[in-house]
Subunit: 163 residues, 2 copies
DNA sequence: GTTTTAAGTCAGTCTTGTTGACATTCCAAT
DNA sequence: ATTGGAATGTCAACAAGACTGACTTAAAAC
């Protein structure tokens, strides 16, 4: 039942297997977002705020364009979210020193603390899942996800990974 | 670097590994929905319609309550979607013969054909990913996803799997 | 000096989710 | 036979978060 490429055991490519993967993605994504969602609700924020904060934390000083590419939304949509985060003093803008058209984004201490709360909650579930299944399954999990990404996002993902 | 539970090699549980998993889920889900979304746009439907059709196809004759539990939305939200699908003759209701309060849901031939289009597109990407990484990674992928689900959804998922 | 780029803003629309209130139907238990 | 509660459907109002399109400002690039 191993990777017998010679005999070409392709049972893992049946419609049934594919359907299971599709449904697993659907149900798992609900679990994936459930814990942060509960926290966000208390602060009257949404998933969009979480995503923005996550990547501003990951790439401190990113400019708006870069963040737009990572998030895959329009600037109008991101702007609405950023405005509230800035108004609430979770994010600050700094005008670029080299190119003064650019605005660089940073989390404030308050922003960092909320981001930490959210990522802790989300990581907790992920850690528990990892622990249950062991390292080999985790490696497989990541490989399939990476292979499912659009090529452009795959590059973005890899860049983030090595930074 | 294998599953050495004795030496407890827990490198796969680092914050970095968890963060990678989180970002992989985020980016992969975009890919996961991208192809069906493009098709749906042509028919002026949304993801909600796709999800409803998917599970009506999976569990023909399901009643509304069961579908609500699977989808995890309110009846008002589902009802709006069902109304358009019924109006467009993609879905039909049949009054329950045993309990006539219940409405059983079925795809019409037109509904089946659109569902087929959508699932083919989605499966195509999944199949390509599976093929790239091989059966062992696919098994790991599913195990992690299953472990990430809320317990109630995990049961729903397993029931669907064995039906 | 003109063009392009980065960012922000205003206005309007759409999908998809939410609450709350209420009506209908009908099974099941008293 | 009546009644309580469950399953379903519907109306109205609202909100988040996505979209398009048009436009401004500022600064860099050519």
């Amino acid at each position: 039942m191993q990777n017998d490429r010679t005999g070409e055991n392709l049972l893992f490519l049946t419609d049934e297997q594919l359907r299971q993967g599709i449904e697993a993605m659907f149900f798992a994504y609900r679990g994936f977002t459930a814990d942060p969602d509960r926290i966000l609700e208390k602060y009257k924020y949404g998933r969009a705020h979480h995503r923005a904060m996550h990547f501003i934390n990951r790439v401190p000083g990113t400019n708006v364009n870069n963040l737009l590419n990572i998030l895959g939304v329009t600037k109008q949509s991101l702007n609405r979210v950023l405005r509230t985060l800035i108004a609430d003093n979770l994010v600050i803008l700094k005008v670029g020193s080299k190119d003064r058209r650019e605005r660089h984004l940073y989390l404030t201490d308050i922003g960092k603390s909320l981001e930490k709360q959210l990522s802790t909650a989300q990581s907790h579930r992920m850690r528990e899942a990892y622990r249950q299944v062991g390292p080999d399954s985790v490696a497989g999990f990541k490989q399939v996800l990476e292979a499912m990404m659009d090529p452009k996002l795959q590059i973005t993902y890899k860049k983030l990974r090595n930074s």
